[in-house]
């Protein structure tokens, strides 16, 4: 379909291209069907699920900031059982790589979900969200302490035969240390980054805009932080990285690849332009052509090579 070879290998998955969509921004894969056929995507990541169903946080759950979006959805999801019963049968049939995203509030939570999701589920991989900043003591604890991060990844790894993608929180002093920890835990790949913890205050009501006070900051505003973390981590660990954080245009996506990401994922960008993933795939292809590259894989970390040459 494309003159340039866009095939991407990550955590044992072979993706038709390096463009995924991000957990929590793409529902369960069907919502955007009218705008962007999933078969065109490298893959999709499902909304985060937890062992039990959650109603999440009260509204308002969204607040706009300069070039950014704060969200405090609070992991609303149908729960593991309902997911297996009503969602999995549909999503496993989707003609693209489908990655489930799991969150928990204890080691047991993660283990319970991982055990229930194996290769035969038809899923391509398991993204372990140890970084959701919205829920009080939610993933946060796991996501900011290297030891617990290593433990949860190791525990999950032990009970499922699916590839494990560790999704890291940017709200840490030492992102490289966190990446090394989950590598020790046996992660097959990394997702960088989740949202930055932020808040906004309503001047009229003189209270936080979000009912939950705090929310996760996403969108173009955080891209420089995300690119920096991908750059640092890709130099320190030898796991493939799914780069995300503010990607809205193909230029943004190429920036992440040049920084060292093996694939990219689009989140908030879908809200701005529901066809962003398609335009980004095309744009990456054209950028490779323009630069005489026959495979998108040649872009991975290219800026580091150029700098060190």
């Amino acid at each position: 379909m494309y003159p340039v070879d866009l095939t991407t290998h990550i955590a044992g998955m072979t993706l038709r291209n390096p463009v995924l969509t991000s957990s929590g921004t793409y529902g369960f894969g069907e919502e955007y069907a009218a705008y962007c056929p999933v078969e065109a995507l490298g893959g999709i990541t499902l909304k985060g699920i937890t062992p039990l169903a959650r109603l999440g946080n009260p509204v308002p759950r969204l607040a706009e900031t300069p070039a950014g979006l704060l969200n405090s959805v609070g992991l609303e999801n149908p729960g593991l059982e309902e997911f297996l019963k009503s969602y999995l049968p549909k999503v496993r049939k989707l003609p693209t790589a489908v990655i489930a995203n799991i969150s928990g509030f204890s080691l047991e939570d993660y283990v319970q979900m991982a055990s229930a999701l194996q290769q035969d589920s038809g899923l391509a991989a398991l993204e372990v969200n140890i970084s959701c900043p919205n829920v009080k003591h939610g993933g946060m604890h796991f996501g900011t302490d290297p030891k617990s991060a290593e433990e949860v990844i190791a525990a999950v790894k032990a009970v499922t035969d699916l590839p494990i993608i560790a999704k890291l929180s940017p709200n840490v002093t030492d992102i490289v240390g966190m990446a090394q920890a989950v590598q020790r835990g046996g992660a097959n790949a990394l997702s960088l980054i989740n949202t930055l913890l932020g808040m906004r205050i309503d001047l009229d009501r003189q209270r936080p805009v979000l009912a939950n006070t705090f929310g996760g900051l996403s969108g173009p505003a955080i891209r420089p932080v995300a690119v920096r973390m991908v750059w640092q981590v890709s130099q320190a660990v030898d796991l493939p990285i799914i780069g995300m954080g503010g990607i809205t245009t193909w230029q943004d996506a190429v920036e992440f690849l040049l920084a060292g990401a093996t694939a990219v994922s689009i989140g908030t960008g879908n809200f701005v332009n529901p066809q962003a993933p398609l335009e980004i795939i095309q744009g990456i292809n054209d950028y490779c052509e323009k630069n005489g590259l026959t495979s998108v894989r040649e872009l991975i970390g290219l800026a580091q090579k150029v700098l060190n040459s």
Partner: protein, 283 residues
């Protein structure tokens, strides 16, 4: 559906101090559109992308002419996004998602009562038109701040429809002085006596569709439930994706079993059955 809507009309609507605008867009989105649905517009010069403001803005369909492939949007300049939208020139093309969501349902027969508060009137006009063409008896209860607002917000158009209008204003400068709900209550009581149900056998089958401030829609729903009149409400919530993918815009309903559930205003709504909506929630 993501399309480019071409601006064919973009003008002030009523008094300038009401900050209302009328925007007519030409494009395929008109074909399948229904009253109560909305579009999500990128409020930026589509030729040069700026990510501040970032999100699209949801605006309801105020008029739908599928034969001319045109939709009319009526909006108030609220903040930066609508301010930027207001600068769109005729001929310009705006990036439009939609029509989105689930609109109002049209009864087969009987009376359709429209109850509007403030600019909640806008989406009801499209509904009135289709109801009217379908030969239903349409009745409007509309409450606004004052005469100037009602006139600015399209009163003349409504009068042109030749339907019964029950107007009220907070300052009494036009119609009854007071809240729109009082008018509705009075009319219902008149028909069937105070808080007695409209008998199934009654020759008039009444249905209510309401849009406006939450508090007002809550009161209208309560009233309708007392009189056992079916009511539909059009909810509003901050939106991210506008297609049901981000769970940013949920509202709370009570299902048959009495359990609280979340629905997506963008996808399952914005129109819901008033009986189901749980208005005062913190979950």
């Amino acid at each position: 559906m993501l399309t480019e809507g071409q601006v064919v009309v973009h003008e002030r609507f009523g008094d300038e101090d009401q900050r209302l605008r009328r925007l007519v867009l030409k494009g395929p989105m008109a074909k399948t559109a229904q009253a109560g649905q909305f579009v999500a517009i990128l409020v930026q010069d589509s030729s040069i992308s700026s990510f501040d403001p970032l999100l699209r803005r949801p605006i309801s369909l105020a008029e739908i002419s599928s034969d001319q492939d045109e939709i009319t949007l009526l909006y108030r300049i609220q903040g930066r996004g609508t301010e930027i939208l207001a600068k769109a020139q005729c001929g310009e093309r705006l990036s439009v998602m939609g029509p989105l969501g689930k609109g109002f349902s049209l009864p087969e027969a009987g009376e359709l009562w429209l109850v509007a508060g403030g600019i909640g009137i806008f989406p009801l006009y499209a509904l009135a038109q289709s109801a009217h063409t379908q030969g239903l008896t349409v009745r409007l209860f509309w409450g606004g701040e004052n005469k100037s607002f009602l006139e600015s917000a399209g009163l003349a158009q409504w009068q042109a429809l030749g339907i019964d209008l029950h107007l009220c204003t907070l300052d009494g400068s036009l119609g009854q002085k007071g809240l729109v709900t009082e008018g509705v209550q009075a009319r219902l009581s008149q028909l069937v006596g105070p808080t007695k149900a409209v008998p199934e056998t009654s020759q008039v089958q009444i249905r209510v569709a309401t849009c406006g401030p939450a508090r007002m829609m809550q009161a209208v729903s309560k009233l309708c439930m007392e009189f056992q009149v079916p009511v539909e409400v059009s909810l509003e919530e901050r939106m991210g994706c506008a297609v049901g993918a981000c769970l940013g815009c949920v509202c709370t309903l009570m299902d048959a079993s009495g359990a609280l559930i979340h629905k997506k205003v963008c996808l399952d709504g914005p129109v819901f059955r008033g009986e189901e909506v749980v208005w005062d929630v913190s979950c």
